[in-house]
Symmetry: C2
Subunit: 255 residues, 2 copies
């Protein structure tokens, strides 16, 4: 049984791509066949594996409703992990989808045929609550919300949860919030501790026990085209994402 | 003579809002009448001054082409600084502008009547190259690009400069890049130093001499609703933005 998880937060730079890439890599290493779909026109999740793609299949599946051919599924250095890369023409998809009927259902239809090959499908979203992100929400069983332990990110959380509620009551009643993970957490600063405590007290069950620490090795890894476990498994970032993967399996496994 | 400056970068979380708010505040303190326009639906530049607005004027000026009434210009605690706040309905403006003729010219028309009151108008943009951002580019004399000294941010810079080139050759030949400023710079890490050197060597004249250091006081200030010079003028962040303001005046003053 395949579960589709969108990694979403309209606040920019909170660690969506870093979490998608590294959680997916850790799950693949734990022998769970995993697909990563990069619908952000910035293509950061694609370049995190050293890939530059000009394959328009994802764009065509969204804008024209064409199926994604199997050869568009790219292999990466990690076994059990595959990628549907993003391309820059996705930036145009937003306005081109505006006049399409069933404009939020395209990604769901495109991913359906691949569910039989994977245990988990992760979708890395752009920093907006746009049609691309709504396509991801509609295609998903659950969402994962990375959040920086900082003020602006906290402000955006309530808006994001309201949007999820609206999606649930209109286009996708089955969508649930799978979890919230604190990122770039620096336990030495009051700000991180205060915001962290604030979020944990409001949503105790949703927040992952593990917080991802701020670690420069995590920011270095993409420039080497490798997830953190391949770049530096002994780093605090790698250890945190491995712990997160095991907590993810307990949380998701329970359902 | 009034200059309009958009603070732009489609990469999320690079310090666009922090730079807009703090540079505008430093210029206002330096006796330059300054207006800050928040077109990001996240409204971070608005909440940076402790303001929650439900004034739909900015949204109506974009979607309906209505003029912004003078009473929509809000005062903040800093003399010489005013704000046109963002509201959450701006999130809908993107799709509503799609079918409007002259859909990128609305903000320019809305700001025209206020140019006689201000020396500088800054526009804080969302993390995307969307119609809201294109409205800001069309309304601007120059753009300011904050960039984190990290890999993903570096990757996005080339794309952003290509977009500016396209805007220049299609809707706004007078648009120029006023400057690039390194943000969250941590001179202790190789990553910051390498990316910093990379950008400076490619565009020596465009990069500000001052780099804004990573400083938790900068991230704390918005939760107190105050720019850094009001929250903690002795912090490294405040000193950096004051130095940036003086460099801004030299750069902009030269034209
Ligand atoms: N735990 C961490 N420690 C240090 N740096 C991190 C960490 N997580 C992410 N980063 C770095 O912070 C920056 C922002 O992270 P990332 O790009 O993953 O966020 P995002 O939410 O995907 O951004 P966007 O909104 O642009 O899609 C990147 O340069 C990344 O390498
Ligand atoms: N120099 C700095 N030192 C420490 N923290 C900073 C610095 N600059 C910005 N921040 C913090 O980093 C986060 C991202 O900054 P900010 O929100 O200004 O970026 P942005 O580009 O406007 O993001 P978005 O793409 O969501 O609009 C915020 O929590 C902010 O408080
Ligand atoms: Mg990302
Ligand atoms: Mg911002």
């Amino acid at each position: 049984e395949c579960r589709v998880i969108s990694v979403v937060n309209q606040k920019g730079g909170v660690g969506k791509t870093t979490t998608t890439v590294n959680l997916a890599a850790c799950l693949a290493v734990a022998d769970e066949p995993t697909l990563l779909v990069d619908i952000d026109p910035q293509s950061n999740a694609t370049s995190a594996f050293g890939i530059q793609s000009d394959d328009p299949s994802l764009y065509r599946s969204l804008v024209l409703g064409e199926p994604i051919p199997e050869e568009s599924i790219q292999s990466v250095e990690i076994n059990n992990l595959k990628l549907i890369p993003s391309t820059v023409d996705l930036a145009g998809a937003e306005l081109e989808l505006a006049d399409v009927s069933d404009r939020t259902g395209r990604l769901k239809a495109a991913l359906e045929p691949f569910k039989k090959y994977f245990r988990y499908i992760f979708v890395d979203c752009p920093p907006s609550l746009s049609l691309l992100t709504l396509n991801a929400l509609r295609a998903s069983d659950e969402i994962l919300i990375p959040i920086q332990a900082e003020y602006y990110a906290l402000e955006g959380l309530a808006r994001l949860l309201r949007t999820v509620e609206r999606v649930r009551s209109s286009i996708h009643p089955g969508l649930r919030v799978g979890g919230i993970v604190l990122t770039m957490y620096d336990s030495r600063t009051n700000l991180s501790r205060q915001v962290g405590e604030d979020i944990r007290s409001h949503m105790p069950d949703l927040v992952y026990r593990v917080a991802i620490p701020r670690s420069v090795r995590l920011a270095e890894a993409p420039s080497h085209g490798r997830p953190i476990i391949a770049y530096d498994i002994s780093s605090s970032g790698a250890q945190a994402y491995l712990a997160m993967a095991s907590e993810f399996l307990t949380r998701t496994g329970k359902r």
